[in-house]
Symmetry: C2
Subunit: 436 residues, 2 copies
């Protein structure tokens, strides 16, 4: 088999076989197929697409490019959730310990944030001492011992994905459906989870801008997951404004801590409950969603989720007193309100711009490996549909540099559209994709 023939077949719209896809992915992972052939292939996939069968083969080939965890010796059923990435999305910080408190082992490996979306690990690393470099053995040991791990992506899991992602990033082939599906699902398959709740974000702060696009992505991932023997469901959730109030690593962690302790923003709390409830339904721990939601809420109000969270922090070397007293988390030097420029209603938010403003403050990465300032970010005070009064704060900026603060202020002002017409609040969810 020759790489150029596999490229030509996809170029001409042919359906690649499992052998052809596996040949290409293995060859690329082992440096036998060069970047320049892989990028031509990726562009052909971008423009010609892939059938479900091809996407499934791609997912499997990427999963099997490295180790595939078998967690059956730890627990018969390990669960995981995955978000396609949004602004202010700290759901894992609450949902994972809540699920673990309900007796479902959560073994989760996360990437780091890139661009305008944050990463779960970056938020947790606001805590002094927190480590996210588990070996496979340490991952299994902790999962067995306390039923929860939130750690980094091992280089041994789905190495093809890391290599392909770096190439996609510089060849304009990131937003291709089969490649997104392959990237997400291969890591989930390699990570060993048996049941997966996908949180597919839709809107101005997400990769998928429309419900239609997000639906296609979610349906494809659910079909692929199912055909690979996973229990899987996808939620389509709103990302036309930040989730919750806080955007920024330590600020989001504080908000998650508040939520685990029974407070926090109502939209974020409701979102976490829904994700947990969907998982309970998926693993048949509840007969319907209402019963599942009640179980989820109870795990939080009882303090069980909070207890699991502190156990997690302790197990991963984090300083527990810091999370118990979150005012000890990194704090920015400059904290300033952004006053509303007019009376009216918050009609629309460009959520990506809010994410980019936080990135510009130092809270995100333009490229892999960039350092982060955990303290900076914004805390919003209004949601779309809320009435605002001229001069009252739209949000509060947390910055460590006056120049950057001024730039972020401009960007944030432009990202919030205020008008005289009342508008409806945004829904939290647009739908759920489950196979019968």
């Amino acid at each position: 088999m020759r790489a150029v023939d596999v490229i030509a077949k996809k170029r001409d719209g042919g359906e690649l076989t499992a052998e052809e896809i596996s040949f290409f992915i293995q060859g690329y992972t082992r440096d036998e197929i060069p970047d320049y052939q892989a990028s031509a292939w990726l562009m052909a996939i971008y423009l010609r697409g892939m059938t479900d069968r091809e996407t499934e083969h791609l997912t499997l080939a990427m999963a099997h490019s490295g180790d595939v965890l078998d967690l059956s010796d730890v627990a018969p059923l390990v669960v995981d959730k995955h978000s396609t990435g949004g602004v202010g999305d700290k759901v894992s910080l609450v949902a994972a310990p809540t699920l673990a408190a309900l007796g479902l082992p959560v073994g989760k490996m996360s990437g780091r944030g890139l661009g305008f979306t944050g990463g779960t690990l970056d938020k947790l690393e606001s805590i002094p001492g927190y480590r996210s470099d588990h070996t496979t053995q340490a991952f299994k040991d902790q999962l067995r011992r306390i039923g929860i791990v939130l750690t980094g992506q091992s280089a041994d899991l789905a190495p093809a994905d890391g290599k392909l992602y770096a190439l996609r990033d510089v060849t304009a082939t990131v937003p291709a459906l089969p490649l997104i599906v392959g990237s997400v699902m291969s890591k989930k398959i390699a990570g060993g989870a048996n049941a997966i709740v996908l949180d597919v974000k839709v809107g101005s702060g997400a990769f998928m801008k429309t419900v239609a696009e997000a639906t296609v992505l979610a349906e494809t991932m659910v079909r692929i997951g199912r055909s690979l023997g996973r229990r899987i469901v996808a939620l389509l959730s709103d990302m036309n404004q930040p989730l919750g109030w806080a955007v920024g690593n330590a600020l989001e962690l504080r908000e998650a801590i508040d939520t685990l302790r029974g407070g926090g923003p109502p939209d974020f709390y409701a979102h976490c409950i829904e994700v947990v409830a969907e998982m309970l339904l998926l693993v048949e721990r509840a007969g319907d969603l209402d019963a599942a939601r009640a179980l989820a809420a109870q795990a939080i109000t009882s303090g069980a989720a909070w207890e699991k969270f502190t156990a997690l922090i302790a197990a991963q070397g984090g300083d527990v007193p810091t999370v118990e007293h979150p005012e000890r988390l990194p704090q920015a030097r400059l904290v300033e309100p952004l006053p509303a420029p007019a009376d009216g209603f918050l009609q629309r938010v460009d959520a990506a711009q809010v994410g980019l403003a936080v990135m510009a403050l130092g809270g995100g990465r333009a490229k892999k490996g960039d350092a982060l300032d955990h303290a900076v970010g914004v805390v919003t005070h209004v949601k779309v549909g809320d009435r605002v009064s001229r001069g009252a704060p739209l949000l509060t900026l947390h910055a460590n540099d006056a120049q950057r603060l001024a730039e972020a202020r401009e960007r944030l002002l432009a990202a919030h559209i205020i008008g005289p017409q009342a508008v409806d609040p945004l829904p939290l969810f647009y739908g759920r994709i489950a196979l019968p």
Copy 2:
């Protein structure tokens, strides 16, 4: 400007500006843009196409990636012909000296043969001593002195083309219209010719399999050439069987010598006359095609073309007695006929397979830099439409290796379809493309 943005624009079907194309071509030529970005861009061009305006910008950017020859100090009008490549295509060997004999300076730089098509240089290099490594100054001096040069492509002319071609070859992006046009026309523009006859081959032994495809290619090249100030015409010529009788380097050279001396295969002779006549019309040396054909024929029958040919060989260091006594050219050790397996008519030839058979005998290159055996090849004895008798030779094989000969024999037998039904002979030409 960022390469990734230019890739994304083409990926989404946008029309690239002159600046964007020039940025990419210059960046790639200077190794500032890596292969893996160039190949993604090439695949996007393959699948999204380019407008005429983009193709013109691409051609110019590639031409200006290196030196652009200005031959105005040599002659006000320098002519060139270019073939898209076929099996048995030795037209330049006859047309160029005929044109020069008629007083039109021919400055031609050729590539080497690759795959199933031969290269003019490879044929000339059957002659001991023949050199094809002119400097620009030597090129100009010889053109001024004897009015004809047939040499190799200088590395300083359109270097982007060589680099891009090597990449296209391994990324399945060779047969893309704008890239073919850019490759051919950039070299012609950089080579300094003012008037160009394009010979676009159509059929089983050509890149373009149908008249429709070839017409689109020819029209595009003619439009681009015209918009860049060149006199240009394109012929669509048959490549559903080898041109002439001989296929193979020294064998083709002998056939060209025979033709220049008044013999040779009728189809090949007629083809050469037509190419020369089109050029005479293009530069207004004749009022109509019939008058032009008469001039061309006269240049051959008078011996003027032959005289120019020997002057060319001498000027480029070749051994003139060898061309005067072509039996001294390299000869193969094994010369064997291929008998027709049945009575009937030659109905169809797979010309590419004939080319591949010669390549397998050692007469062509699978990849750049491969060594050639000048002596090997085949001499066909029948044309499509001819009656054949079982046992009479279809062609004669010239080989230097018994194993290779046996393999070529099988391939050639399969490539010649003989049946009981009479079929019409193939036309020489399918049309001509000229702008008013």
